[in-house]
Each structure stands twice: as C-alpha cells, then as structure tokens.
C-alpha cells in the first residue's frame, strides 16, 4: 500500500469519526429541543409544578439550579484556584504534593452516587445541614474540586517561563507575579474549567437526591431574608434542581402531562447550559482583554 493511499484512508477514517460525533451530538440536541421547545412558555418557566393536574411549571426548580450553581461556584472557584496555584507555584516535588495529586485524581473518578451517599452521611446527617442547597453545593464542590485544581495548575504551568523570569528580574514578589503576570495569561483556561464545572453542576442528579433533596418549600420571591424558610436565597432549605425534577417526573410523575414536562425541562436545561457557556466565555474574553489588551 502506498504512503499516499494510507494517508487518504487515515484522513477518511478520522473525518468519518468526527462526523459521527457531530451527528450524535446534533441528533441528541435536536431530539431534546424538538420535543421540548414547544412546551416552553413563560408560564412554564415561572409557575410551580403540579402533582396531579396538568399544566405544572418548573419555576422553583429553574431557580434552584441557578442558585445551586452560584453557591457551588462561590465555594469551588476560590478553593480550586487556590489549590491549583499551590500545586503549580509553591508545591515542591515532595510527598505532600504527590499525596495531594493522588487524592485529586481519585476524587475525580468517584461515582457520583457514592459521593452523594457520603454527603448524606456526613454533611446532611453528621453536620446536620439537612437536605439543603448548602449540602448540595458542598457535595458538588467535592466533584468539581479535582477539575478546578487540575485546570488551574495546568493553566499556570502553561504560561511561558520567561514571563515569570521577567517578573523576578524586576524585583516583583512571588505573589505579585502570580496575580499580575501569570493569572491574566492563565485566565482563559481557568474560565474553560469553570464552564466544565458548571456543566456538571447543572447536570448532576444522583448526588443531589441525597443532599439538596427532592422537594422545594413554597418559595416567596418577595422575601429576601436568607434566614426565613420560604426565602428563595435561604441556603438551608431543601432545593430540588431541574435535573432532579426531570428524573422525578420521569420515574414517578403522575400528572397527565408528565412526559411533556420532562421534555420541556430537558430542553430548558440544555439551553441553560448553552447560555451559561456563552456568557462565561464572553465575560472571560472581556476580562482577558482588559488584563492583556489583546484584541
């Protein structure tokens, strides 16, 4: 077989694989959107679910998913970036570093149902946080920590070492070099990591069943006191997220339009992930431009 023929076959196979992946993706996305989009209306997005009658919405679940996202990111981002910077900039190649890296890797391969049960035993019961947004956020943090740490470490390591040298030779402190020189260059990769983490937050259901719970109190959107039980921003209240709701409606929903609700909610979930993705990239690009003046 000539080299040219081999090259053609290899190219063909690679292109075919890529097309297959794109087709699967578009197929799934199309299926979800075609089935769900027709069911999405303002009323569907804002009203509360109905148990027996048709016409229930997903308002609280939508809010819960967003709130859980924000709360989780508030915990995950500082911890993940901090640990990532430590691994990239401060850790010496000793035993502690090796141990931290091992733990991070093992954590990232944990089944979510196991982490969920762990959360139930430790966070919900022992710490007595109950089924709450906070418990859910803490469990999701356990998931996302490895990703954030790894992404941040890689992002910092990938900054050309000449950048750091220039900073050192100017007499900058290590901290100043990290914040003013390395971080802006590492930012786009960190944003990508955050988007991946957010995708998991939106999509996770198994671990949240045991931690954030499967119910939502009647939310009063005029009450913004975080201590009151019906306040949407009370972190100690149970919160069924969109993913959990989809699972619940699908497996035990008895409303006559359960299938439509699940389809609509799925479409909303997909769109939310998409919107968050675009938004995060946009904000990331703005920040990157501001820091680096790169057009």
């Amino acid at each position: 077989m000539s080299a040219k023929l081999k090259d053609r076959i290899a190219t063909g196979v690679i292109v075919a694989f890529s097309l297959l992946i794109i087709a699967i993706l578009l197929g799934m996305l199309g299926y979800i959107l075609v089935r769900g989009l027709s069911h999405i209306s303002w009323d569907f997005l804002t009203s509360v679910p109905e148990t027996i009658r048709a016409g229930g919405g997903i308002g609280p679940q939508l809010f819960n998913s967003l709130y859980l996202l924000v709360l989780t990111l508030i915990i995950t981002i500082p911890l993940g970036i901090g640990a990532g910077i430590y691994m990239a900039e401060y850790a010496k190649g000793g035993r502690l570093t090796a141990a931290v890296r091992l733990v991070v890797e093992v954590l990232s391969s944990f089944p979510s149902i196991v982490v969920g049960l762990f959360g139930l035993l430790l966070i919900v019961n022992t710490f007595n946080f109950g089924f709450s947004v906070l418990s859910g956020a803490l469990v999701l943090t356990i998931f996302n920590m490895p990703l954030m740490v790894r992404v941040t470490e890689q992002a910092f390591r990938n900054v050309p070492k000449e950048q750091k040298e220039a900073g050192l030779a100017m007499g900058l402190s290590h901290w100043k070099i990290i914040t003013s020189i390395l971080f802006p260059v590492a930012l786009p990769a960190i944003i990508t990591g955050t988007i991946l983490a957010a995708g998991r937050i939106f999509g996770e259901a198994a671990a949240l069943l045991f931690t954030a719970g499967m119910t939502t109190p009647r939310l009063d959107f005029t009450d913004w006191n975080p201590m009151s039980l019906n306040s949407p921003i009370n972190p100690m209240r149970p919160a069924e997220t969109l993913s959990v709701h989809i699972w619940k409606v699908n497996s035990e929903g008895i409303a006559p339009d359960a299938a439509e609700i699940a389809a609509g909610a799925s479409a909303v979930l997909v769109l939310m992930v998409l919107i968050f993705n675009l938004l995060a990239r946009w904000v990331g690009r703005l920040l990157y431009r501001k820091f680096t003046s790169i057009k």
Binding site: E165, L168, A169, M170, G171, L172, P184, S293, K295
Partner: protein, 251 residues
Amino acid sequence: MTDILRTENLKIYYGQNEAVKGVDLSFPENSVTALIGPSGCGKSTFLRALNRMNDEIPGSRMTGSIWINGRNINAPDTDVTVLRQSIGMVWQRPNPFYKSIYANIAFGPKYHGIKNKKQLDQIVEDSLRKAALWDEVKDRLHQSALSLSGGQQQRLCIARALSVQPKILLLDEPASALDPVSTAKIEELILQLKEQLCIVIVTHNMQQAARISGHTAYFYMGKLIEYDKTDVIFTNPSDPMTQEYISGRFG
C-alpha cells in the same frame, strides 16, 4: 572610571557540578563589557548570578562575593527583590508581559509606588525614547505588546528594564533571535545606553562583541581565561586559547 560591580572568587554550583570556578571580574560604570565563550562555558550562569537569578534554580549554590557599590550582595541578608530593582535584565527571547505597551513599561514604577498618572506617562515616554521605540509606538500605547515585531518587543523589554532606572543592565544574548536590521538597532541602542549605565552582555557573535564592547572577558569551562580591552582581545590576545576561539578555529 570607577567600578560599580565586582566579583571576587565567584563560584557557582548546580548540585555537584561547578559551573563557574572562581571568577574575579570588575565592571566599570558607563561601559559595555562582553562575555564570550563557547556554549556551556558558564558565561550565562555568571551573568545570572549578578542579580541572583540563579537563586530560582533548585539545587544551585553560590560562594564568593559580588560587590555592588561597596556592598556584598551575595549575603543571606540581601533582599533580592530590592537588589533586582537596581539591575535590569533582558533575555535572548523577547518576553514582554501579556499587557499593553504602556502597561509593560508602567508596571515596574507602579509596583514601586509611583501612582501619579502624569509621572507614569512621563516615565513611559522617557523609557521608550531611551529604547528608541517611542516614535514607532506612540500612537498605539494601549495596544498589546504582543502585536509588536520581535525586534520591537526586544526594545520594549529594554525600555521596561530602564523604567525603574537601574544602574546596571544585564543582557543575555539580546540580539541572537533577531534579524540583522533589528540587531543593528539593538547594538546602536546599547552604545547610546552605555553613556548612563554599566552594561554586561553575553554574546555568541564575535563581531558584535568587537563592535559594541569596551572590555571583553573570555570564558571557558567555567573559568575566566582572559579579560582585557576589547581591541586587545581581538587583535592581540595573550592566551592562545582566546586566540583560537576568536579566530573561529575552536568553539
């Protein structure tokens, strides 16, 4: 001419390996001194020792003394961040920060406490003028430094080093990654800057050393083989090893 910088029996080790083996050298102010020698002869390691940059390499050690203005800076109580502010450094590959042209220059002065916008503007302009870059970039100070050509980036790095008004400028093969036109500009710049600074330059380019330096030091295997006025080194070296190296028969 007085010596602003002097090393005394300077030895540098990487682990067990002695990379620089006891070098005594003096650098007068307002002058250019070239360090030449084959790759691996220790000249870059020696250069990096002068602002204690080797401290950042795990396993490196340094003995002997480095005198700057009568103070030995190879002492444990030396604050290297303060030391490095008085010594500028430029590398082979241009390494501007991922920031605007303006921010690259203003970064150092700002960090060292100058907050006044007018004063910063003035420093940026002065530094860029000194580095012969002002006319080329004055209309796009707020564009990314990475949009400049390689030669311009290198002059920007020199301007950045000058922005904190160092007394000493260390250049590690500053033109070896540049085209001949940019190289000529850098050399011209070095000749101008020597009126105010003590410049130490590592170079592999013999002609460059001959063109711009007043003194030349020839290194081989971590030892200083010969040090003299540049025209003496290049016309009548006393050591046969230097003779062989500069005539291109070896190295």
